[in-house]
Symmetry: C2
Subunit: 235 residues, 2 copies
DNA sequence: TAGTGGTCTAGACCACGAA
DNA sequence: TCGTGGTCTAGACCACTAA
């Protein structure tokens, strides 16, 4: 029942204010700085340090002469969603069938995309991805084995992004290319559509902390999949 | 030759430091806080306020016990590019042929996307867009006429985004959907491709300051266009 | 040991907004 | 007029890093 042994004062104030305004409507007033000075018995600069953090964070908004208020929520920056999350968001049940999972030597394209040298060891993971039981997408993912030792031995996870997340390597930045095409014979067979049917091709370089951790090439059945993207800055 | 009549001290310090590190290599040391205290004859809190701004901005990075250094440039958040800018970036010459530019009553889909009521007046602008002379894309843009009075009378601009920019309405946030399909008869004729050829369909809601200013539906020849997207947070 | 950034104090004066 | 946030001072002690 004891709180942190030694909490910094500005952190205490910050978290107190954060808990106060949690769930409050935008425009609601936050405590004034001088009020917090009295409540916590700290200097005003300390209170300002606490409030500054919340303002930078986008939670509060200062209006000179009036006070400090709960800010209108800023639009969140794009978060990279995995196939699993994306399907869950649409209310579909994602499934994944591993067709291939092995160590390979990187070819020229994959090596360049992963910022490796041709012939370096990479993990190649091919999956057929279903949503509510119907084939949706065929995905080839290539991973830099150096960054994720023991990945193949650990047994393949359900969600690649969850697995990377647990290693602190969840991509927070991606460079994607998207194009329309028609299904090849092999793709058509796996996706259970006609050869020549329209498909969406999606390539991604996923980066975490400036390191390329994932390169993938996916092909989606166009009749079943529309890609959604949100772009831009906060607001 | 006179500087601003009354510059705030923390601004003076901030801009001095900014000019010092402009063009400096990442990792280069910035002046220490106490050095700036002596140079400007101000309190350390004032210097910290100046440096805080540069740290939040991503220009500087503080390392306790070591000093303050020029930060590795953070990846910029995605900026919404117009067709014109996008083609220029690829080294292609963008051209635009207006097929239609008139006031219309919003249908149900456009009204909802523009956050208007069905029957409200909207501007419909259809363009055939070429790159290096070859048809690339057919675009239907719908604009909220309330936000851009006199738009049709002003003569159609070369770049929609530039025109919106000059009114302070350049979209900074977009919600896009992308899907693969095949060209219709009409599209095929305009895009000079075969009916049934693969195309990329791109829909966008473009927002500026929380107002929907643009809704567009574009169809791209898949053999000539690959979409590039960068997603995620700074780094 | 000397220098750095991190935290904190106890005040001060200012411009601005609301009453 | 009174309360608000914005700015600023002249110190202080701490933990950490590097020499």
């Amino acid at each position: 029942m004891v709180t942190e042994g030694r909490a910094l004062k500005h952190v205490q104030v910050r978290e107190y204010v954060r808990s106060l305004v949690a769930g409050a409507a935008p425009g609601s007033p936050a405590p004034s700085e001088r009020e917090l000075v009295h409540r916590f018995g700290v200097a005003r600069m300390t209170v300002r340090q606490a409030m500054d953090a919340l303002v930078v964070e986008g939670l509060l908004e200062r209006i000179p002469g009036r006070g400090t208020f709960v800010a209108r929520p800023r639009r969140a920056a794009t978060r990279l969603a995995s196939f699993t999350e994306e399907m869950n968001r649409r209310g579909l049940l994602p499934e994944s069938q591993t067709l291939l999972a092995r160590r390979e030597q990187a070819g020229p394209g994959v090596a360049r995309a992963l910022s490796l040298t041709e012939g370096d060891s990479v993990i190649h993971w091919r999956r057929l991805r279903r949503a509510d039981g119907v084939p949706m997408c065929l995905e080839d993912a290539y991973l830099n084995e150096i960054l994720i030792p023991g990945f193949l031995q650990a047994g393949m996870p359900t969600s690649l992004y969850d697995a990377l997340d647990s290693r602190g390597l969840r991509p927070t930045w991606a460079e994607d290319s998207i194009t329309a095409d028609v299904a090849s014979e092999e793709e058509a067979e796996l996706l259970e559509c006609a050869p020549g049917a329209p498909v969406l091709r999606h390539s991604r370089r996923g980066l975490a902390e400036d390191k390329v951790v994932e390169v993938s090439r996916s092909v989606y059945r166009a009749d079943r999949f529309t890609m959604w993207v949100q772009l831009g800055q906060e607001s």
